[in-house]
Assembly symmetry: C2
Homo-oligomer: 342 residues x 2
Amino acid sequence: MTTTATNRQVILKERPVGIPQARHFEIVERPVPQLAPGTVRVRNIFLSVEPAMRGWVNAVGNYSEPVAIGAVMRSFAAGVVQASNVAHLPVGTWVTGMFGWQDHAVVLPEEIGRIVEERDLPLSLSLGVLGINGAAAHYGLTRIGRPNPGETVVVSTAAGAVGSCVGQIARILGCRAVGITGGEAKRRLCLDTFHFDEAVDYKAPDFEEALARVCAGGVDVYFDNTAGPISDAVLKRLNRGARVVVCGTASIANWDPPPLGPRVERHLLVKRASMQGFVIFDHKECEQEAFQQIASWLREGKLCHVEEILDGIEHAPDAIAGLYRGENLGKRLIQIGDITST
Amino acid sequence: MTTTATNRQVILKERPVGIPQARHFEIVERPVPQLAPGTVRVRNIFLSVEPAMRGWVNAVGNYSEPVAIGAVMRSFAAGVVQASNVAHLPVGTWVTGMFGWQDHAVVLPEEIGRIVEERDLPLSLSLGVLGINGAAAHYGLTRIGRPNPGETVVVSTAAGAVGSCVGQIARILGCRAVGITGGEAKRRLCLDTFHFDEAVDYKAPDFEEALARVCAGGVDVYFDNTAGPISDAVLKRLNRGARVVVCGTASIANWDPPPLGPRVERHLLVKRASMQGFVIFDHKECEQEAFQQIASWLREGKLCHVEEILDGIEHAPDAIAGLYRGENLGKRLIQIGDITST
């Protein structure tokens, strides 16, 4: 592993309105933090980049306090315990948690999100299919979407970390999976790698017609990662009793004030349909079941994942904006160390 | 009972766009229909007037086929069996069903919605608190809203047949009931007769401030009978885990195309909230429990009802438009006969 004499940190420099851009961050070098009693020092190997991080830096009401100006950017990271004052977290333990966009984090045991037990699988997966992306896909689909075999499950951002997992779990559960994604490369990824039954490109001029064609029998579950016009098109095709799982709103740059869209009440009433939002952090108790199932599916080759690993912390400041530009293929990570030399 | 030599019928003359007005109907006189084998003839005493009847005459996709031009206006009615070829439905039985806006209906036993057993209570109630209004209030609140004691339940069209029942059941269940209604007379009705904890007038210039004041602790259940700007104001105040019950859309005159409103996805996500539509006709199996409870509450004086009874079938053509003008106080009915002389 690259040893760093200092602790490089990505700091929030100013508060963005809407999507955070590279200019809102700066990289600083600080001393490596000292181990205190009862803590461990984690050497981060992978930093996560999530659409949700947009919300973490915005001042508008959200599910967590906004990151303070001058603070290390909040983020999931996966790393290795490098120094320890905690008996059950010896040096070498693989861990994930909200360690932030930095090389090193000194944390209390209760700040460890998870000890990664699946050491036969790459550590990076613990930020994707074996992290909140997989947990969100599994929880949202199975607990809120509750699909029955033979039903049609539509998911937006289908080539992304959550969406690709939703589509594959839907198929494992015996459903027909329809992915919505942007551009032909991602559409091919959905069909060829993630094996969706159908995939449509929302950027194509015939998007609505294509969606109608592949959802001729209607939509039973819609796993919504985008909101906006993509969702408006899906909502028109709901079947009676349909469930809409509201997991993300990636297509809306700014919610202050909320943008206008076609009212949904009549769809919900006439179709006896439901829309329900969830935040995966509320459902820690469901993680273990989700990760056990997903790890099995990964080992059996039933579930594929795609990662896009940016090399070096200097890619962090622009990484969220890049997600919203739709430039990533699969789960976006930043690698800032090398696990083999830990 | 007034005996009519002929059968007066209110016919749909032309198809309205939006709210049906008096000019869309005409009253005709036809012969009293003959009793056929296996049928009963019902003398209608009360005809119902529901907001939902707007949808039944519109061509836009809905939960039932639109009423044909030239056909009797579809409606609930309560009446008395006047002639019978069916053993278990003797002359004198009180019944409700989709008998239409007319004096007489010859129907098969399976077309009888319900035999009214509560003969100690007025027959008219079987079209209101002991009919679909009460059933919708009970089902929507208890099965979808699922309020816990101490929670705040907000209901729109609070002085109406469904809304007033929702507010009173919420209080019986130990909740705080907040009603939204139009005008000071209806606001007083909510407070003085239906004993809501708070009531606000959506027509008042300070509606949003008043709502904020009476919902300072947020909204746990919103029973939505209106959609539109009233609902937009309530959705801003949802508590975490709130349930929005979509029962009606009275404030929207035309859904073709759906009007624009602030997008709801972010509220649902950040508040981990749900919105769910229902149509009470799907839940016949829950009626008996609802009516037994409501009848008990009525007899114990725990639940009040207010009716506005229009006298004579000539009031029918304008009666739906009047509902949407907000001119009724309580459940609107049309009386076209007299039960005592049956």
